[in-house]
Each structure stands twice: as C-alpha cells, then as structure tokens.
Symmetry: C2
Subunit: 349 residues, 2 copies
DNA sequence: CCTCCTCAAGACAGCGCTATCTTAGGCAAG
DNA sequence: CTTGCCTAAGATAGCGCTGTCTTGAGGAGG
C-alpha cells in the first residue's frame, strides 16, 4: 500500500520500508524526539534528559528496535566488534579462551569476530586483512609470530591489540599469558626431582609456544647435565591422541632406557598412556609422563596424568579486559600480564 | 593527482579521509572508471567489459582495497554474513560442524557469525534478535526447539534457515542431520545382540537430541521386552568425564546386575570406563559400554570404546551447501538431508 | 535590563557503498 | 537513412545512522 514516495517520506510509516525493521527514525517519532536525541539516548550519552531517555528506551523496546550495526559502523567509522584470532578451533584450549572473551565482551555490547587460521601465517594475514575492513575496535591475537605483511597491516590500523598466550616486554606491546619456557623448565625439574635420568621431550604441531616449552625444558635438563638431544622427538604433524601413541612407541623402541617423558600437550600424553597400558609398560613405575594444558580428561584417566595447568579462562578474561581498557583509553597499570601456570602432580609421575 | 571534482571534496585525496583506507572511489579513480562500474567489476557483475574488470581488479589489488562491509550492507540491505548458532562450543562435536561450515562458506566470500547459547533458549533468542540486525543472508541453527519469540523473529525475517543435527519433514523446513531415535535404537539392538539383559541408559545435558536418543533406545528395549525404567539415569547437569564416572558408580552400586550401558555421549562413557578400571569392573566382560559421537580419543582408550559415529563434518558441509543454494534461490532436490550414522563396534562391547 | 555563557536538543551533512534510473553508443530491421 | 531496441557505462539518490555545528532557552553577572 505504499504510495510513490519521492522527496518526503511516506506519510505513515509503521516501519521502515527497506528491511521491514524499525529504524531510529521510527523510535524517535514514536517517542516524540528527534532522531539524534534518540540516538544519544540509546547510546547512553549523558547530555540527554533522563526523562527523555526512558521514553526513548521504552519506545525502542515496544518497537523491537535494534540498531543497524552497518549504519552505525558507517556513520561512526568503527564497528562494535572485537576480532579474536586463534590458530585452531579443534584445540579445546582456545575454545576456553574464546568463551572467556565472550563472557567479558558481550555484556559490553561488543561482538566477537572469531577467526581460525589453522596455524597458517598466510591464513592469519588474510583474516586480518578481511577483518580490518570491518573497522573493529581492537584485536586479540595469539602469540607474537606473524607475517610481515600482517604486522604492517596491524601497525597501519593503529588499533589496540592484545596478544595472548605468551609474554614479551617490549614497549607498547600488550599481552596476557605465561612463560612457556618457565613451564617447560618446571616440568623438567619435576622429573629430575623424581629421580629420572633419561628424560625425553615429545612434541607435535611445532608452533612457537611448543618450541618455547621445549627450550625451557632443555635448558633445565642441560643445567642438570642430563640433556640428550637424541631424546627430543618432534613432528610438525598435527597433534592428536593417535600421534601420541605412535610417537611413544617409536621413542620407547629406539630408547628403551627412557624413564621420563614431557609431552608438549595432553593429547599426546593421553595417547602415550593408552599405548603404554597396551604394551604393559607401567606408568609411572618404569616411565613418568607429564602433559601440558591439563585438559579435563587428564584428571580421570588411569593413571591420572600429571600436567601443567594453564589458565585459559584467565587469559581470555584478562585479555578481553585489557582490550576494553585500551578502547576506553584507560591507562593500563600492567601492559603485560603474567597469569602463571601450575604443575598438577598426579599418578603418571 | 586529482583535482576537486565538483562540490568540495579535499583537493587531493591519496586515500579516503575518515578511516585511512582506500575506498571504491579511489579504486575507480585510479582505474579511470566511475565508482559504480568499479563496484560492478569487483562484484563480478556480468555487464562490465572484461577488460575494465581486470583494470579495476588490478587497481584494487595495488591499493589494497577491501570493500567496507558496513557500507555494502547499508546500501544493499543485507550483509555477507551467515549466522551459525550452536548450543555449546565446549563440545568438540559442534566445533567440527562449525569448521565444516567455514570451509564451505568462507571461499564464497561469506562470513560466519558464530553464536553459542549455552543450551539456553533465552540466550538463543537474544542472539537471534541481535544477529538479525546484521541482516544476514541466512541462518544455520541447531535442532528445532526454540522459544516462540525466536520462532516469530525468524519467520518475520523471511530469511533462509537450515536446521542441523535432527530431522523433520515438515514442508518448507530445511534440515541436515540424522535420526537420533534410530541411532539410539541401533545401540539397543547391538547390546541385545551381545546377549545383554540388564541394559541402562545414562544421560546428562538433557537436550532434545539426548532425549530422542533415549526414546529410540527405550522403544527398542521395550520391543525386546527388556526395558526397565529403573535403569534410566538422567541428570540435567552438564555432561563431563567426571559426571560419567560418578553416574556409573551410582548406577552400578544400586544395580549390580547391570550388564550393558548406553551413554548419551562419549564423555560420560570415558568417565565410566576409567571408573570401571579403578573399581576392577571388567569391560566388556561384565558390562558392555557404548558411547555416542565417537570422539577421537574413543578409538584409543583401553578398552577402545564402541560408539555411534556421527558425521559432524558432513552435517556442517551439507547444511552450508544448502544455505548457499537457498540464498541463490536454487531449487533443493532434498530439503531434508539424512546423513546417517554408523555404529563403530570396538572392545568395550 | 541587557549581555554573556552554558548546555540540552535539533539541523545538517555525509560515511562508502549499491539499486535504480538515465544516457550514449552500436546494430539490425525497415 | 531513420527508427527502435539493445547493452554498457554513468548519474542520482539514499540506505540508517552519528559527528559536528547551530539554535534557543535559561541563568549569572554587571
């Protein structure tokens, strides 16, 4: 029933024509103020009479008005979005980080754009390029390693960035994480404390953090004079329970005297524990095993797995809080938050 | 080196002023065509001279132009976004579905807005309300149950919707999944085939799908005259390995004669297997156990877990393909795709 | 009583695109 | 050679908001 609309808007608009959704103009009209005032009222800008604010809010609720994010982003030159990039969604670890991020940011009216770059710097760069077009308010990234082009894009964007999982103390860098080296070293000391002499490092999915763990572990063993490079087993293959079992078999076949193993993550350790049971190799009697991340299942298997508990939820929560502060141009008392880690000693060692 | 073209834009714009990013106008200028032609060229609209298209593409690449999604969405009244809602991100199951969805949609230039509603219909409704404001091209939802308000919002949006995980054959409904009832029944038949007589169903996180599985399972047992309601153990608690162990302990204490258990998912079964080992209860000799979903670890534990393999990647991939067809207004040969399931028999039964 | 100041509310313009209409050529038919 | 039709390219307008300037009313000060 629309008449030719031309210059003036249609005389009676129940609801805007293009999308069938109410617009700010509808809210303004039905609450008897101008659109700008309605906009300000809904955004909580202080200069609006509280009485008008409640009128506008009511009208919006009645109409079921929800701001059009595209229009808002276009007019204000930035969206209400935070980009969060992780190297993998298959790893429970990052899911927990993302959940914590959501918990902090969604109540603030921000949206989280999740990107999974499958451990590929090229994919990460592409995601950054595409997501920057959304004019996000800030980015939460995993680790510090990325392509030069990606770094250039990020620098040019001048957006707040918080990097997660690792630590660095360069000026102007914001991060939330823990020292992967220190965690690796803690595992080494634990195995040494247990009297182990032939201690191996088994790793897959060799990202920067896995390498850092190995580094800390190696240094601690070297310090004790018990480092044997032949006992470092690494594969770029994606980490999995199956790979853990296979790597364990190979290791123990070639080095029957191994009496302690640090797995770069729990998946591998799970596979090894299952395989050891199948081969009749007693854990921890013959071999102590330690995992990394302390996934939920680790506390329940037989033997229960010793692991480094990483505070994923903490990391997500604090990184999100940091980015919020940066958006509000608040001073951060600590640009680089160390959430630490915890060695959870269980039956497997 | 452009001169002021007519009203009064800045005399020389290297790059647009507001955001520091190149705009379509920049691309148009540097390739010597009008902005509309540039727009059409970049969108692959056929009416543009191929020669011009490549000129525009080159200019865009040189400038590092990426379309402003907000402006595009505002002008065209819809975004390049597909909303995907899942009840939980903590469950590996849904992660695999989402990854498959990404794999199909990202190459098409679509973005995926992920929402996790934590099994709460209220949260789901809120997500739908907020995400509809983005004017997505379509929605991928989990299951059929949702609040009336949510259903009304969806209906009013007139957007393509594909529902995942379950099946229904109502007209105008698009779905990709499998029969949860049939899967439950298959497990029951398997346990009956193994000669089990006292067969229990242990379930947590009682969503619609868990109940459907239980229903199929129960009917099959009733059919065999071996259904005992006392052997159904359900808790609304979130499913976990720990809960599985606890429920198993309680079940076996109260019903020492149980000789077969169907767990509504693998997590619970894992916990039960670990707990049984600890209690010296032999699986499958004394009790057969069957899980659901066939998570990766199930194939590796001791005993290896019999489970229903669900084709998560298939579901995601096909649901995404369906929504693509719907967007393009293509006829779907099959509005309701049954991807089936597979009983993987292993040591635990 | 008038001026100056403050501040809430509104007018105005424009963000960067695309839908739609219009125009300019090119070509076949008469 | 004209007419009409087609197609490719451009002109125009406007999506729904918000940044910024302007207005006007009320209060303080001389």
């Amino acid at each position: 029933m629309s008449t030719g609309n031309h210059k003036k808007p249609s005389p009676q608009r129940e609801v805007s024509r293009r999308t069938g959704r109410p617009t700010l103009a509808d809210v303004a009209e039905s609450s008897g103020v101008s659109p700008i005032t309605a906009s300000r009222a809904l955004r909580g800008i202080a200069t609006v009479d509280p009485h008008l604010v409640s009128k506008v809010r009511e009208a919006a609720a009645t109409l079921g008005y929800v701001v059009n994010p595209a229009a808002r982003a276009l007019a204000s030159a930035h969206s209400q979005t935070i980009v969060a990039l992780v190297p993998s969604l298959s790893n429970q670890l990052f899911i927990e980080v993302l959940e914590a991020i959501h918990e902090v940011l969604l109540p603030q009216g921000l949206e989280v754009l999740i990107g999974d770059y499958h451990y590929s710097p090229d994919e990460e760069e592409k995601l950054i390029r595409n997501y920057l077009a959304h004019r996000p308010r800030g980015l939460l990234l995993t680790g510090f390693e990325r392509s030069e082009a990606a770094q250039a894009l990020l620098a040019a964007s001048r957006l707040p960035i918080v990097q997660m999982m690792e630590l660095a103390n360069a000026p102007g860098v914001f991060c939330v994480g823990f020292s992967q080296q220190a965690a690796g070293a803690a595992v080494a000391r634990h195995l040494l404390d247990r009297g182990r002499k032939r201690i191996a490092y088994v790793a897959a999915q060799l990202d920067a953090r896995v390498m850092q763990r190995g580094e800390g572990f190696r240094h601690a063993l070297q310090h004790a004079g018990l480092h044997d490079p032949a006992l470092e087993m690494m594969t770029p293959a994606r980490s999995s329970v199956a790979v853990g079992g296979d790597m364990f078999s190979e290791l123990i076949t070639n080095n029957p005297d191994v009496d302690g193993i640090f797995f770069c993550n729990d998946d591998l350790a799970h596979g090894a524990i299952f395989e050891a049971a199948r081969q009749g190799i007693r854990v921890p009697q013959r071999i102590s095993m330690v995992g990394f991340n302390d996934l939920p299942i680790s506390a329940h298997m037989t033997p229960r797995l010793t692991s480094i508990r990483t505070l994923r939820a903490d990391i997500g929560q604090r990184a999100a809080t940091q980015i919020l502060s940066l958006i509000k141009h608040e001073k951060l008392e600590n640009p680089c938050v160390d959430v630490g880690f915890e060695l959870i000693v269980r039956e497997s060692s």
